[in-house]
């Protein structure tokens, strides 16, 4: 039987000061309340692993045990199993990056890579640069090490490198520890950094001697347009984070980090302190799964499925959202970023959305503080097209009420019409 009982944290007051800034948000509490089955989730960025055939995974597990049983059940090297690193080198080669097995380490998801890089680079009070909005998990990983986070605005071509240059001029050479970017189908904005801006970003990185971290979880999930070379393909000093979460399954917790060897040496030391080595078993399973061509057919199916869902979401947005709302057009990945007229706050609207049976993530969560409150993120990766269309319709109902208010102000001449620009307030 359910109960409303609250359990307190009896250790409160004894935690490290660094944890004080890392608190679970009220928004997450609200999602916990939204676990009703009739609620359409447009909030979480979960890969649809229901489409990964279990028979293939079972075979990979069996093969791993049969052929590599002894090593798969043992501690492994901190760098990760050589055979898996060979596979990663091959995967990277397909996207245009040339590197060797010794240029990378296998991590427990790309998320561990973020934590290790933060641990290796950030002292309290250091500056780090990222996109605004950016991946919440990165902000979370960084915040434990207490940096000052500078956000660079994004538009439909990704990070505004002109604004990056302004910031770099202000902080000066080596004035920040790194520039963190998600160049492909960014989380949460859904935008892709143009080839031209990639080149400019790397020039600036060299000029100001500040390394770039390229986080590329979605790169292979492209639904339209042509491949854009990764930053790492253009500059071997770029630190690159990759993952098996989107091409295989996040449950294995497998990612990788490629970096210049001196940096890699530090990362390895940090990793040994964190977990000695990653899961040999998961790595051995991934080796087997990624051998042959079956995984490519699964990935092709996933890509087609996500593409259909993206189309469903874009069509629903076009149908239900009025002209004073802007949204991005992702060429791949999982997310669409929606921008309302300035001064409309999406956070208080979430409770209403949950009541109507749909969830989204309020934009403010993707910035360090005080920005993006008029934006929201929608994920199209997990629900079926019909559900996505219905979810967007429900969100449009919630927004319409506040938009009517905004329009009343504009019509009375009390405030200017918001330009239909996909940028956040701030």
């Amino acid at each position: 039987m359910g109960t409303a009982r609250v359990v307190f944290d009896r250790w409160d007051g004894r935690y490290a000061a660094a944890m004080a800034d890392v608190r679970s948000s009220a928004v997450r509490d609200l999602f916990a309340a939204a676990s009703r089955p009739d609620v359409i989730s447009l909030s979480g960025g979960m890969p649809d692993v229901r489409r990964v055939p279990h028979a293939l995974v079972e075979k990979a597990v069996r093969d791993a045990l049969r052929h590599d049983g002894a090593s798969a059940l043992q501690y492994g090297s901190s760098e990760g199993r050589f055979a898996l690193r060979e596979i990663i080198v091959g995967l990277m080669g397909e996207t245009g990056v040339r590197l060797s097995e010794d240029d990378l380490v296998v991590t427990s998801g790309a998320q561990q890579g973020l934590d290790l890089l933060a641990k290796v680079f950030i002292d309290p009070g250091d500056t780090v640069i990222c996109e605004g909005p950016t991946y919440v998990g990165a902000l979370q990983a960084f915040s434990v090490y207490r940096p000052i986070v500078e956000c660079i605005e994004t538009d439909e071509h990704g990070m505004r490198v002109d604004l990056l240059e302004e910031t770099l001029r202000r902080v000066g050479p080596r004035g920040a520890k790194f520039i963190y970017t998600i160049p492909n189908f960014q989380n949460p904005a859904g935008v892709t950094l143009s080839a031209e801006r990639r080149r400019r970003l790397l020039e600036l990185s060299r000029e100001y001697d500040i390394p770039v971290i390229e986080d590329d979880p979605y790169g292979r999930l492209r639904y339209e347009g042509g491949h854009v070379l990764p930053l790492r393909a253009l500059d071997p000093e770029v630190i690159y984070l990759g993952t098996f979460s989107k091409i295989f399954a996040p449950g294995l917790r497998l990612g990788w980090l490629a970096a210049p060897r001196p940096i890699l040496a530090k990362v390895l030391l940090a990793k040994q302190g964190a977990d000695l080595c990653g899961s040999s078993f998961a790595q051995a399973v991934a080796e087997r799964y990624m051998t042959g061509t079956a995984w490519r057919r699964v990935l092709a199916d996933l890509t087609r499925t996500y593409g259909e869902r993206r189309d469903a979401m874009l069509a629903a947005l076009e149908e239900h959202l009025p002209a004073d709302v802007a949204w991005t057009h992702p060429e791949g990945g999982f997310f669409v970023w929606v921008t309302l007229p300035a001064h409309l706050d999406t956070k208080p609207l979430l409770a209403e959305a949950v009541e109507r049976g749909v969830t989204f993530v309020p934009g403010g969560d993707f910035f360090p503080a005080g920005m993006g409150s008029n934006c929201l993120r929608l994920a199209f990766c997990y629900e079926e097209p019909a559900q996505i269309a219905e979810g967007v319709r429900r969100i449009a109902e919630v927004l319409e009420d506040k938009l009517a208010l905004y329009r009343a102000f504009v019509e009375a001449g009390a405030m200017p019409a918001s330009p239909r620009a996909d940028r956040s307030e701030g």
Binding site: M1, G2, T3, A4, R5, V6, V7, F8, R23, A26, D29, L30, A33, A342, H343, L344, D345, K347, P348, L349, A351, D401, K402, A404, L405, Y406, A408, F409, E411, A412, G413, A414, M415
Partner: protein
């Protein structure tokens, strides 16, 4: 004295975190006092849990919507469980700043000039075209814009010019269906707590807040070091007694019971103005009611005890 006391905390309001902090402190105090406390969140199982556990009384440590607006009070009346703090009517009146200000004005309690706008007035009646009348109606800028029904100063903004007024209204109306625009009174901000006692409402020493940012908003309220407090407030004796008189009058006027916290500002001429009344004052480490009680010689746990005992006398 080992009555079972359910402490209601959390909930889905925007003040959830604050309420959990209030609730935990109250829970600890009840433990220390020898009661049998029970910590309950506002979930779909709440009524079931209350019926199963049959507490002797409920301590309402909820803030914001549902906890402070009469909703949970109404449910507890129906369940016949006595609870701390004001009843349904007083809660609903205090929660709606527009209504309570109207009552103050009618009773001659000084409250800054204001106008109320509902979202519907803008959407259905073209009220936005009358925004030019606002400065004259409230006596010029600066003004404060805030949702009529929202605690912890969420959605609150100080506005210095006519150009910034529409956007502040839009922000405030993100948090509710109506907003008030109120004349900004420059001066000393006070929180004056009132506790019911055997001889009627007893006014605790006023707490004076000085926010470093100049605006006592959500951040100032709940971030240590963002606000300086003086208790008792640094007031001339005649001002202090007028403040106390007004606090008692507001408490009575709204029909409050057990406890209330009246927020005021004293202008440069020493004149107090009433802003609003809170019927479920915060009980966190930085909250104003416990600060006032401590200053008057009532430690936190004794404050909690007093409120709970009062609720227990209402057992049927």
């Amino acid at each position: 004295m080992n009555e079972k006391i359910a402490v209601l905390m959390g909930g889905r309001s925007l003040e959830r975190e604050v309420s959990l902090r209030s609730g935990e402190r109250v829970f600890r105090a009840l433990e220390q006092l020898g009661y049998r406390p029970l910590a309950l969140d506002v979930t779909p199982e709440l009524v079931d849990t209350l019926r199963r556990e049959r507490p002797d009384a409920v301590y309402i440590a909820l803030h914001g919507k549902f906890g402070e607006d009469g909703t949970v009070q109404e449910a507890l009346e129906f369940l016949k469980v006595p609870y701390t703090g004001p009843g349904v009517t007083a809660s609903a009146l205090a929660w709606d700043k527009s209504l309570s200000k109207r009552l103050f004005a009618e009773a001659g309690v000084p409250t800054p000039a204001w106008v109320t706008f509902t979202a519907d007035a803008f959407k259905e009646m073209g009220a936005a075209s009358a925004l030019d009348l606002v400065p004259a109606a409230v006596g010029g800028f600066p003004v404060v814009v805030k949702p009529t029904k929202q605690g912890s100063a969420l959605g609150l903004a100080k506005v210095d010019s006519a150009e910034a007024l529409p956007e502040a209204l839009l922000s405030a109306l993100s948090f509710g269906d109506a907003a008030i625009v109120e004349k900004w009174v420059d001066g000393v901000e006070l929180a004056v707590s009132v506790l019911d006692g055997p001889d009627g409402p007893e006014v605790l020493p006023a707490v004076e807040m000085v926010a470093k940012s100049g605006l006592f908003d959500f951040t100032a309220m709940y971030t240590r070091g963002e606000t300086e407090y003086y208790c008792p407030a640094r007031l001339a004796p005649e001002v202090a007694s007028e403040v106390a008189r007004l606090a008692r009058e507001c408490h009575t006027l709204l029909g409050c019971r057990d406890v209330s916290r009246v927020d005021m500002v004293v202008d440069g001429g020493g004149r107090p103005w009433v802003l609003e009344v809170n019927t479920s004052p915060g009980m966190t480490e930085t909250s104003l009611l416990p600060m006032a009680a401590t200053s008057a010689g009532t430690e936190f746990h004794l404050l909690v005890d007093r409120l709970v005992r009062s609720a227990l006398t209402r057992r049927e």
